[in-house]
Amino acid sequence: MIDIAIIITPKDDETKLQRCLYSLRNEQCPIYFIDGKQGKIGHGRAESLNVGRNPYVSFVDPDDEIIPGIYGKIRANLGFYPEVLYHNELIVDSTNGTIHHGWMVDYTTIQVVPERLRGFLWDSQNQRFAHHRGVFKKESALKYEKQLSKLHECCEGQLMQMMGTNGEIKYLNEFGYIWNIHGKNTVMEWI
């Protein structure tokens, strides 16, 4: 039902990749390794839409992890085959090891929200969107393939926005993804 695509570049840490793969070990989904090209993450994401035979694709970064069992829950909740199904993620700030829950307001800013607010709805007007915590219907995503291949920042989030504006989007109130933040480019805002 779901193919998992991992884009790997020479810069990626192998220990983190091992942890990532370990977290995926029981998910019963084929994993596809995509060769990343320098400065072209969107290109890799677009390439991911063309591998595998399953109707859905999920993007996992080699330095992140999933919460085991999430893909089983997603499979059980796909129902009427929405364009995108997204879920909650834990944001781990590796500089101080703190764990947050939140959403993105632009491609570099995360709004950290209290856990009681985690059941937020898709909010296309305020442009809050999820990171790459979800599954995308390949058939629908392929319409945006060209645009996607030109993107460099948070391409999966932008894809989710594009698909969510025109198609059905489903929210699953489960934590499924652990996003490790270690770059200096990401800003956190507390609300």
């Binding site: 039902m1 193919d3 991992i6 884009i7 790997i8 570049t9 020479p10 990626d12 192998e14 990749l17 091992q18 793969l21 370990y22 995926l24 070990r25 029981n26 998910e27 019963q28 989904c29 084929p30 994993i31 596809y32 390794f33 995509i34 060769d35 990343g36 090209k37 320098q38 591998v51 595998g52 035979r53 399953n54 080699p62």
Partner: protein, 316 residues
């Protein structure tokens, strides 16, 4: 950047080498004090290399491969091992085996059955696991039965027998002897020198599935491109193998100097042959528990290992 030990293809000496992942691919630089530095591409897909290829995690190795001789009874073109009539002394071998008493010992060579003291070595070794051989000696039924007496009459015969796409008649005799005795072997090694040979090798394996329960596929290509017009990358081999066997179990994957291996389980092979093809390599579950090897003192220069313990296809 990974440092390793490699073999200089000009002087066949063990020399230091460096493996580097770049945006253009994975490159190895050999630093031979006699022949100079050489650089060549090892693998074009960095993704493949990171996920399946070289790993250095000495803590988890539980087996050790030990060369006991440089002698061999065949003269294969693709072999990288320096050939001579010198054998390692029994004391030296047993001392090494005792030093690594908590690890399983795989005896290799050259051709280990050429070692005149092989039976003594095995009988004195408490942690012997497998003999890596071309099987020619076991074409002789008397020799085979003596070996069984020595190692115990179990269903699993403790040998890894190399089977090439065009197997030697003595290798085939060995396999039929094992079949007549109802034995199975851990691994049959299929040396693949071209993508065309993969299909041929899998066909041969299909004929011996009752004997060869677990196959280790290796590409004996020369990373320096001296033996082939085109370098055969292991990621290509993976894709080709997966196109024939869409769901299979990889139990172990080792990256050597110019040799990579894939293991396939025969018990799944038969039921999976007819499944639809795949178009990319996919894998599930990677653990850090390689069953072989790497030694702190570089007794055998394969310093990396990675075990991929399960390979599951799509589950709809």
């Amino acid at each position: 950047m990974i440092t390793t030990v490699s073999i200089c293809l000009a002087c066949h000496k063990e020399i230091p080498a460096v493996i580097e992942e770049t945006w253009d691919g994975v490159f190895m630089t050999q630093k031979c004090p006699v022949c100079g530095d050489k650089k060549a591409i090892v693998e074009e897909s960095v993704a493949f290399h990171k996920a399946f290829g070289y790993r250095r995690n000495k803590k988890t190795f539980n087996s050790l491969m030990l060369d006991i001789t440089d002698a061999c009874n065949t003269n294969c073109k693709l072999c990288y091992h320096p050939r001579s009539d010198t054998h390692k002394g029994i004391i030296e071998i047993l001392r090494t085996a005792a030093k690594y008493s908590n690890r399983n010992i795989w005896l290799s060579g050259g051709e280990p059955t050429c070692h005149p003291e092989l039976f003594n070595i095995i009988s004195c070794m408490s942690n012997f696991k497998t003999l890596i051989t071309n099987g020619h000696a076991f074409a002789d039924m008397r020799y085979l039965q003596e070996f069984i007496e020595l190692t115990g009459d179990k269903k699993e015969f403790p040998c890894e027998i190399s089977i090439n796409p065009n197997p030697h008649k003595l290798t085939l005799e060995c396999l039929s002897n094992l079949r007549s005795l109802g034995k199975t072997i851990d691994c049959g090694m299929f040396s693949i020198s071209s993508l065309r040979n993969i299909e041929k090798s899998l066909d041969i394996w299909g004929q011996w599935l009752d004997v060869v329960t677990n196959a280790r596929i290796r590409t004996p290509f020369n990373v320096w491109g001296q033996q082939a017009n085109k370098t055969l990358f292991m990621s290509e081999v993976y894709k080709e193998v997966i196109s024939h066997i869409p769901r299979f179990v990889i139990t172990e994957d080792l990256g050597g100097n110019s040799i990579y291996n894939i293991n396939l389980k025969a018990d799944r092979y038969l039921s999976l042959c007819s499944a639809p093809n795949r178009n990319a390599f996919d894998v599930l579950a990677v653990s850090n528990a390689p069953d072989m090897l790497a030694d702190d003192n570089n007794i055998y220069p394969i310093p990396y290992g990675l075990m991929v313990n399960e390979f599951i296809g799509d589950v709809s």
